[in-house]
């Protein structure tokens, strides 16, 4: 392009400047990315390095960068250790949360795209708003609802029943809390995904005599998959790291993995062990996320280009 512009400068001058500007844009983009990159480098990567360093330090010490041992990891992989129980609980609950939320959120996501029309905006706001209320407050509201003599129990007694079910401080209610907390994280990516399905395509299939189930399985689901995948991944990853649900609603009837990590850092003052656990969790989540993200085209999802 540049040589062409040089050959006949009068005719191609605008082309030339455009090419120049495009080159300029290249560096401009990188420069715009710099502040974010710097923040995440210092605030995200560096702490991960610190955790990694601590994971190889002598157990129950603060000798970071001065000692090297694999003892912490050996401890984790010891069958006598209960950490794996926590990890399995967390993974199992995360999987169940994803499955339940997919079923709960799909009709709503579909509705936001195709049914609610001008009400969509308002309904979205109703689903976004809970994100701005601390999860403690919302989960504690459930405690007030379910506790003995609470709203449910009290109302049932007042109506003449023998009282509400005793579900508080059980593993089941922990799962419920996770489903409750992470609904928006499933709903919004799913809604974005379903927005990628062209209406005309569905109409055309229907006109050609395709059944509902067929349209859903062959058109809607595959085309909305990127969004659904992001939603599932996001809820899974967040649910693995969830602690508040198990502590507030579950009353520590089960110990989840991030609670174990917390215990190592606080009560038992064993930072190297806590770090080793964090490293394992981080590797698991990181590998999963990077694998899924590598399959997605974010420009298409967010920009609908």
């Amino acid at each position: 392009m540049a040589s062409l512009a040089a050959a006949s400068p009068a005719a191609h001058a605008p082309e030339g400047t455009r090419a120049l500007r495009q080159q300029h844009m290249l560096s401009l983009g990188a420069r715009c990315a710099l502040p974010v990159a710097a923040l995440l480098g210092v605030g995200f990567l560096a702490p991960l390095v610190a955790i990694l360093a601590y994971a190889f330090a002598t157990p129950r010490s603060f000798d970071v960068f001065t000692s090297f041992t694999l003892e912490n990891f050996a401890g984790l992989f010891d069958p006598a250790n209960t950490v794996w129980v926590s990890f399995v609980w967390s993974c199992g609950f995360a999987l169940l949360t994803v499955a339940i939320l997919a079923v709960i959120a799909y009709p709503i996501a579909y509705g936001l795209n195709a049914v609610f029309g001008r009400w969509s905006g308002l309904i979205s706001v109703f689903f976004v708003f809970p994100l701005f209320v601390s999860e403690n407050v919302r989960l504690y509201g459930w405690v007030l609802f379910l506790i003995k003599n609470g709203v449910l129990d009290g109302s049932l007694k007042w109506l003449g029943f023998s009282g509400g079910p005793e579900v508080l401080y059980t593993p089941g209610i922990t799962l419920f809390g996770m489903v409750y907390t992470y609904l928006p994280f499933m709903l919004f990516p799913m809604t974005l995904g379903l927005a990628l399905v062209p209406r005309d395509l569905v109409d055309a299939a229907r006109d050609l005599g395709a059944g509902r189930l067929f349209i859903w399985r062959e058109i809607e689901l595959p085309l909305a998959m990127p969004g659904i995948m992001i939603g599932m991944l996001l809820t899974f990853v967040l649910a693995i790291g969830a602690t508040a649900e198990a502590k507030i609603l579950g009353g520590q009837s089960i110990i989840v993995i991030s609670h174990d990590i917390e215990i190592a850092f606080t009560y038992s003052q064993n930072w190297p062990l806590g770090s080793a656990m964090s490293v394992v969790v981080t590797l698991f989540i990181g590998a999963l996320t990077l694998f899924a993200l590598s399959k997605l085209d974010l420009d298409r999802m967010l920009g609908r280009r």
Binding site: P107, V125, V133, V137, Y140, N149, G150, I261
Partner: protein, 264 residues
């Protein structure tokens, strides 16, 4: 005919889920108006004394101030950084863009309690004393990526030809930024600001590990939930919720006006 029935079912389901979402928030509000110290339902005597006590408490006043300060600083810093980031994310074609798009999302996909602990470790390793200032930084690590995505959606929506035209008419880069790019992005930046403030306002897991001796509203609430319940807990929780709702309402209306002006 069958179609309308499905739509009705979708409506009913959605409204039902919304009711369930707001049920615990309502329970909290209810508990805050209970006169007696311990919660029991049906409430025998309603009173506003716990609201009054919460408003009068000096300790809570300080905590609210810390929360507001942290959220304001997070908002200002995040929006500046995220606006640049959103332009890099969605506007410019540059070599590292695909990678950048993916890396920026990673912190959102990271469990916040673990991120908070990692930051605490990091601060500790370099010898920084944790306080509300470190919490501002910690919040930003998580909020900047979210706000970048929010603004990026607006960036995707604008036509690069408008910038090109301004350049062709002889504007300098600063002029283009001030006269074309920023006015067009305002609605997105505004939403980003709302998100930044409200997400910082309600954040618990990051604050827990990074505020040191200082405390934010969600932290104080958690401490009292675990030990030492008083009806001030639901009262302050409800106040924080109401404050967020008012801000979202006012901010949302202002945003709609902005959008209309940008469209005009």
């Amino acid at each position: 005919m069958k179609h309308t029935r499905t739509n009705a079912l979708i409506w009913i389901w959605t409204l039902l889920v919304i009711v369930v979402i707001y049920l615990p928030i309502l329970c909290g509000a209810l508990a805050s108006f209970n006169k007696s110290r311990y919660f029991g339902f049906p409430i025998k005597i309603y009173a506003t004394e716990w609201w009054q006590k919460t408003l009068d408490s000096i300790e809570i006043g300080m905590i609210v101030k810390t929360s507001i300060l942290v959220a304001l600083l997070v908002t200002v810093f995040s929006v500046v950084i995220a606006t640049c980031g959103a332009l890099a994310f969605a506007r410019y074609d540059w070599k590292g863009r695909r990678l950048f798009q993916k890396l920026i999302i990673l912190p959102i996909f990271f469990p916040q309690p673990v991120l908070g602990l990692a930051l605490l470790l990091g601060f500790n390793a370099v010898g920084i004393q944790t306080s509300w200032m470190t919490a501002v930084f910690a919040h930003m690590v998580w909020i900047v990526p979210v706000v970048t995505l929010v603004i990026a959606i607006q960036v995707y929506g604008f036509d690069p030809a408008l910038e090109e035209a301004a350049f062709d008419l002889g504007c300098s880069r600063i002029q283009v930024l001030r006269e074309v790019t920023l006015p067009l992005l305002w609605p997105g930046i505004w939403s980003g600001m709302l998100f930044a403030f409200l997400l910082s306002w309600s954040n618990f897991p990051l604050s827990l590990y990074t505020t040191g001796a200082d405390s934010t509203i969600p932290e104080w609430l958690y401490a009292k939930m675990v030990a030492g319940y008083t009806p001030m807990v639901p009262a302050l929780g409800t106040m924080a919720t109401l404050a967020a709702a008012v801000l979202l309402l006012v901010g949302g209306l202002a945003g709609m006006l902005l959008r209309r002006r940008a469209a005009a």
